[in-house]
Subunit: 149 residues, 2 copies
DNA sequence: ATCGCTGCAAAAATTTTGCAGGTAA
DNA sequence: TTACCTGCAAAATTTTTGCAGCGAT
């Protein structure tokens, strides 16, 4: 199983990590973590907020909490090019770096384990005099269900 | 010279293309096209607007024009992961598809000609039953000027 | 008992839309 | 002439911030 299939880290472990970062474990934060824990794919802020029980967590708190979690390295931001940021939990010890394949029609998301070839990335770095290269990479296409017969 | 170095297509050629798409050539549109023509790298809406002579073009018109140009296939949208969409002119007959290398400190941008290996992309498509794959790919790192001595 | 966190509300920032007049073709 | 386009202003979104009270530690 790929390292980023994080869905089974217990909530208790997540809150422990948060506490370890000198952050308080509160109701809204547990709710957000538990929600992300059960989602296989990146979630938008509004998705997170509306998936939570009404009154469980203010929208502003979702914004603030996601930022905290991102700074704590527990959540990763993804961009599918539609202007809406989406967030995914990073499992403890996971290699956070991975990519997605998104259906342009139905928006279904598949996690991808392939990555941009490291040696080619190195070559790009060297050629341009850059160091510490990383990249963002997302794939788009038509999923099986959306393909014309 | 890479196909996407579009900076030298004359304004007249651009307006001709626009007219060919059944769109009118107006003052604001010429101003935007001429600006993008002189920019080597993707520009944000606000950048475009504030770079134009005051009163030359309303902000709402920039939004509307960029959308028109995007629909006409004359402009390409890029996402550097900071939530701000940026737009770059597509030269006539250019292969629009390319990527960037962005300095995480000073935001300098370098255009990259390397691409994700086609055969690996094909493999990802096949493995997941997807067709018509494309991708978005941007690199980030520390440029020569921003590297510690 | 702290001091961080939350809800609520207001503000700020971003993007879209309605409309009446102007203009490219 | 006829649509398309524009500026202006208002509205709709999205995100951030101030503040007083609450609560995790």
């Amino acid at each position: 199983m790929p390292a980023h299939r994080h869905g089974h880290e217990p909530l208790a472990s997540l809150t422990r990590r948060l506490r370890g970062k000198n952050r308080r474990v509160t109701g809204p934060r547990q709710a957000i973590l538990d929600l992300l824990r059960q989602q296989a794919h990146p979630q938008a802020i509004k998705q997170i907020h509306s998936a939570l029980p009404p009154g469980e967590c203010d929208l502003a708190t979702v914004y603030r909490s996601i930022r905290i979690l991102e700074q704590a390295g527990m959540v990763q931001r993804f961009d599918f090019g539609d202007g809406v940021a989406r967030f995914e939990l990073i499992g403890d010890g996971d290699d956070a770096h991975h990519h997605h394949l998104v259906c342009t029609q139905c928006d279904v998301v598949v996690e991808i384990d392939d990555c941009f070839p490291a040696q080619l990335e190195q070559k790009i770095a060297r050629r341009n005099g850059f160091i510490n290269l990383t990249h963002k990479l997302e794939f788009f296409g038509l999923c099986p269900s959306c393909q014309p017969a």
